[in-house]
Structures are given as C-alpha cells and as structure tokens.
Symmetry: C2
Subunit: 241 residues, 2 copies
C-alpha cells in the first residue's frame, strides 16, 4: 500500500539549514557564501559522505556504511515525489540532465509550467492546485510504492497539517546550530492543548546521525494526566525529568 513519507536531516535543535537567505534562489554561488549554507552542509554531511547518495548524484567515492544503506532504502521505497517550489528552483540547474530521483516529481507551485522530462526516469510536473492535489497525483504515479515528500520544510509542514503524512523519518545530526530554519514551527497551528502524536517504529544509531522513524498517528488533544502523581493536581510534582 502506498504510504506518504517524509524524511529530513535536522540538527539536534531542529534546524534543517541556517537562517534564511533572503536573496532568493537566483544567485546560487552567493548562496554558498550566505547564512543557509554552513548549517545545511553540517546537517546533511552524513548523507553526502555516503556512497548511495553519491552514486545517485553521479559522484564517485563515498562510504559503504549504515548511512548509505538508509539512503539506498529511502530511494528504493519512493515511487514518486512531491516537492516545494523553492527546492525545485534551487535544484533545477545543479541536478542537470539526469536528476537523482529517477521517478515522477510533482512540484507544488503557483506558476504553471509544462512537464519537464529528464533522463533516467525523472520528470517534473508542476501542480498549481495545491498540496492535496500534488499528493493525489503522486499517489497515482507511484505504482504502489511510496510517495516521498522531498522538502523543503514548509511543504513538509503543509502535508503534515493536512493530515496526509503517514511516516516521518528524521536524521538527527549531533550538532546544535542555535538559529536557522526550523523543520517544525508554530505554523503547524497547534493550540496549547493540541499535539500531533507519533509512534517511533525504528531507531538506527550511526556515529554522525541518529535515524528515527515514526508512524504519524495524527492530531489529538493533550490531556492533563499526571498519572495520579500529584493527588489533587495542585502542581508539577515532576522534579527531574
């Protein structure tokens, strides 16, 4: 059965890149010198070192490691992708004639554009009818495999808040960045009594990232349940944890 999945590399404090570069995606050589790049390269380093990632990009070398296995598995599970417009803009030129996806990609955008066919099985279809429609089209194109939300963070949050995400995997890099673009932020629109519940289904330890996979259960009310610890619920009995 097709699942809608997402995976993302984040710092231990929840950033997937440095602070937003407001100059836009036009000047990519400038991007490398901007505020986003140092954090971005730090949190994705585990992937860039891995053989399976490099192979998809057409680069030589890399490590045959548990990280490489995870990337291989992630690519293999995806039958189609959904992507944000800003990510597509940043990737279009560097990905070149043979992008690493090798599957249909549906780009959520406000600007209509014809389908781009690339070598190796990748196509880019531009969807102007919103996130739900892009996921629906990707589901039809996935051939029974998964629909992978490939980012960025804003699209991932939209898919999550629309209740469309079935599985989330975070690759947690052991670094604190302090500031940057957060994968999760108040745009999730949750009140103080609301949470989105998940169930951890797999944890993989590697020296340079902790890979945690969750099934998304969905939105639910948080309850004031202290398991009877404080008797008449007068205050926080919890001392250390």
């Amino acid at each position: 059965m097709t699942k809608v999945t997402a995976q993302m590399s984040v710092s231990l404090d929840g950033f997937y890149t440095g602070p937003r570069d407001t100059r836009g995606p036009e000047d990519m050589s400038g991007w490398m010198r901007g505020p986003e790049a140092p954090g971005f390269f730090r949190v994705t380093r585990w992937a860039v070192d891995a053989m399976a990632w490099r192979e998809r990009q057409g680069f030589a070398g890399g490590e045959q490691s548990i990280n490489s296995e995870i990337i291989k598995e992630t690519f293999a599970a995806a039958g189609a992708y959904v992507m944000g417009r800003r990510m597509f803009d940043a990737g279009e030129v560097p990905w070149g004639e043979e992008p690493p996806f090798r599957a249909p990609v549906f780009v959520v955008t406000h600007r209509p554009r014809g389908v781009l066919e690339r070598q190796g099985g990748t196509s880019f279809t531009f969807v102007t009818e919103g996130v739900e429609r892009a996921v629906e089209l990707a589901r039809d194109a996935a051939g029974g495999k998964d629909v992978a939300v490939s980012g960025g963070g804003e699209l991932l949050r939209q898919v999550l808040t629309a209740g469309l995400l079935d599985q989330l995997e975070l690759h947690i890099a052991p670094v604190l960045l302090g500031d940057g673009q957060r994968l999760f932020d108040p745009s999730l629109g949750l009140g103080a009594d609301d949470g989105i519940e998940l169930v951890p289904t797999r944890v993989v330890e590697a020296p340079d990232a902790t890979h945690v996979r969750y099934t998304v259960t969905g939105r639910s009310k948080l309850v004031l349940d202290d398991r009877g610890a404080s008797g008449d619920l007068v205050g926080p009995a919890q001392p250390v944890h």
Copy 2:
C-alpha cells in the same frame, strides 16, 4: 571523574513544556489550568509512568520498564544537583519534607537565603554568585559522582554556553507540540558559522520515548564542506536529504 550532566524530556519539535505561563509560580493550582501544563505532562509521561520515578516521589505503582531503568541510573549517577530558581520555586511545596533528590542541590538565584535541610539527604543551597560558582560547589559536594543539571531550560542553556556541560541526554517524546518553551533557542548565541558539536554515545528505544545520550564536544566553526559534491561549489547539489 565527576562529569557535569543534564537530561531533559522534550517533544520531537524540541519543547519541554507548553507556552510560558506569565502568571508566575505563586499560583500552582492555576498552573495546572494554564498553557504550560498540557505540554509538560505529555513530554514527561514516560517518566511519570515509571516505577523508579514514582518510588522517589513516594508514590505507589508504576511500570518496571526500560524507562524505569533509565531513571534509576540517572538518580544513581548524580552526587549533587544544580537547579534554576524558577524550578525550585515550582517544586518547593510539592516536593515536601522528603524531596526526590537525596543529595545536595545548588539553586542559582539572585535572592540570598539560608540552606534548607530536608529529610533523606536533600539540601538546598542558594547560590547568588552565578552558574559557574554553583557548578563548582556542586562538584565539590558530589563525592566523585556526577553533577546533574536538573533544569529548567534556561539554566541548562547557561551551563552549555559557559562550556561546562560534559554530557546531555534527551528523552524525546513522540509528539509535536507546535509551540511552547524550547530547550534550545537563539539565546545559545551561536552565529550562522558556529555550532556546538556533540557525539552520540547511547540510544535507547522505548515505545514512549527515544533516549539519546551525547558527549558534548564543544563550540566549533561550521565549514562549507560538501565533500566535493558540487565541484566548484556553485550550489546545493544535495537533493533529498
């Protein structure tokens, strides 16, 4: 050798409690109805259910589980504690005559106050000379065991940015809260080129929390190292991770 350790329960999006209750710590029955409580009880639920936590609080019941083992181990490793003033204020009454620490606690505060001796080995010493001094006093009192930073988040960040923290363990509850008080925030004072590096040393999977322990390596510069992926470093070649 005495290490300075900290451990904290957080949501997957990095909150250790709901949005700040600005009414202050005086009205604890109001706190239960305020914005902090639902998030706080959700992220600490794994601990409150555990037998070892309940035993320390003088409550019956609880589960003999891997979570309980972790709490037992955490209590056993600590020879002294350092605590923030706000956490002490919130805990003083509910902890009662026999607080769960059973060791000397050093409270960082601006208000001088005499030492409070409690039953079971707990004492509260109020330190007005800052975080470094409180850690120093706790180190002397720890008898070769660890100094545990018991929270809250603000104190933990101060100890971390002062370069005093040796080990951090996060208990990551599988829930997104969307908003609340973050364990890590820009008050870490890191620029876009700076990170605090850590090394994961242990991961323990449990259904209701993922326990990840890190050794804190310390502050270092982030480098623009894409492992040669983009050749002339023109842009982000990284597509999916």
